[in-house]
Symmetry: C2
Subunit: 337 residues, 2 copies
């Protein structure tokens, strides 16, 4: 009788164990049948590489990069040259490549100088995408950033609106950098095509410096005292141009369109010294850079691009993150929160 | 004694049940602590809307849309006008909107006619993106497709390579459609700028029809018997142009560059009748359309775009899926598998 009861205990225990295991299994397989979604692992590390790493401009892009990493459950790291120095960025990029990360998003200080490092990474199987500033002749898979030519077109149309489409305008830019060449070209060609009465009288090199740009604007106003507008293709020069017209008492005569949304620029937009500035989609540059690197890393790309020797792009080659015209009316929403 | 044994049975059974429940719980929470990743639910349904829904051209784009949906664990549906009929596509789109889907990717048969339906959807909170064929003046959030102007630039450079950059060339196109206007403009402006010895002598309307295009090419060759090349901006016309030069025995004289990769075009590339065709990134159009709609739907976009009345784009405004030049050497990889 005792033995029989012991057998019962074992049988009932086994049955309960079995039932729970079935329950466990079903429960797990139920979970596994749920969509797993797009996700990686924390040891999958993506690196963002840029130059002048300390400046505020990069903060939103890095935030986008981090937000995408958090959504996908992967890790990120941020590296860059501290100076505006081509060789320093090349060195930083070489160091990053040596550690074989899951992917690298690069903003190029020079459109050619990083090509050999970028190509070496791609050939070693490390995905590379460009953001903000392209290296179009490298083997990087894509460019994610502002369409700078279109930004120049937008600036020209806004300038026409601000000046009534008649008069003389100048440009302060960085004539050696691809981004800035494109902005200037879009501005110039749009004036020619759409606003023939708005004459571009001078293009000055502000060297990305506030003081030099202020002097260049003073020179321009000496040569053309009836100047109606200035398009400045970067933020330091925009503040310099603002100071020039403030100090010369030309606030009512000269309309300034600047670039980006650092605090100095926004303050001058708010006060009306700068009539408009062009905000770039920097958060999206970072977010979609990481999204593209993740897809390359995990081979979630155009299936036809997998064929040996294929020239078919695995993913979109060019992502335009757009431009927003910031005016005194809506400037408040652009201040960092 | 029997009662004691019964108590044991119950106690042991309860203990085993408890142990298994702990095991289950731990196992589950282990799973839940893994990165969840990007995923939706199957009741989140995204709809792709196009025109001439039956043609092969859309297959790769739909495959990309489906692949993205599978990765994210959401549902898709595919709707389109059966005819090349503007009003039919408007009606189909209105019907889709009435069922409040999670998002809609639209390829516009006409760059203006769908605007009011698209805007109604966006105003009702249904995300809309454009793919393949844009409606640039609508409130759709973005365009995902070929940069058609750049495709024309690529065609011009390939034509210069094929003809040695000297001679007379023509274009067969659809002059009323935006895509095709852009392709023609990119081709024409690049010839003017980069290849002044390659003269564009005529632009004909092939109406997207093989027979009409063949006749237009015959007419062009009658006017210019020494014609060296023809750029055809869509696939039916390319085959028509191929038939024209075959039947006129002008295969050695006239180089044809066509568009897209349907079987008829690929066969003519393989045989050398068509010298090159431009393949579009259709899989990527579908994949990244869904990816963008998912991000809009789930508010995973630029945080600054959330402010009331903001004009900041929530996500990239323009995604260029790229172009691949297909020649006899690499034509095989483009046949549908």
């Amino acid at each position: 009788m005792k033995k029989l009861l012991l057998v019962y205990i074992v049988l009932i225990g086994t049955l309960m164990a079995y039932l729970y295991m079935v329950f466990v299994k079903e429960d797990n397989s139920g979970l596994l049948n749920e969509p797993e979604g797009l996700h990686g692992t924390l040891d999958e590390k993506y690196v963002m590489v840029n130059f002048l790493a300390g400046i505020d401009y990069w903060k939103n892009g890095l935030k986008g990069f981090e937000d995408a990493a958090e959504a996908l459950g992967v890790s990120v790291e941020y590296r860059g040259s501290t100076q505006y120095d081509v060789q320093e960025e090349v060195m930083v990029l070489e160091q990053v490549i040596a550690r074989s990360p899951a992917g690298i998003a690069v903003s190029a200080i020079d459109s050619e100088a990083l090509n050999s490092a970028i190509n070496k990474a791609v050939e070693a199987g490390i995905p590379v995408v460009m953001f903000d500033s392209d290296a179009p002749n490298s083997k990087a898979y894509s460019y994610i950033g502002t369409n700078n030519y279109n930004a120049g077109v937008t600036a020209a149309r806004k300038m026409a609106e601000l000046t009534g489409g008649i008069g003389k305008v100048g440009v302060v830019t960085l004539p050696k950098q691809l981004n800035h060449q494109e902005r200037t070209r879009g501005f110039e060609e749009t004036l020619e095509k759409e606003f023939p009465d708005l004459q571009l009288v001078g293009i000055a090199d502000g060297k990305g410096d506030q003081m030099i740009s202020e002097q260049k604007v003073r020179d321009l106003l000496k040569r053309f005292p009836d100047l109606n507008g200035i398009f400045v293709t970067e933020a330091n020069g925009g503040v310099g141009a603002g100071n020039a017209i403030l100090r010369l008492g030309k606030l009512d005569q000269v309309r300034i369109i600047s670039f980006d949304t650092d605090k100095g620029t926004l303050d001058m937009v708010k006060s009306g010294t700068i009539s408009a500035t062009l905000a770039q989609g920097t958060w999206n540059m970072g977010y979609w850079s990481l999204m593209q690197l993740f897809h390359l890393r995990n081979h979630m790309v155009n299936p036809m691009s997998d064929n040996a020797g294929s020239s078919i792009p695995p993913l979109p080659t060019n992502i335009d993150t757009g431009i927003t015209v910031v005016t005194p009316e809506d400037v408040d929403q652009f201040y960092a929160k």
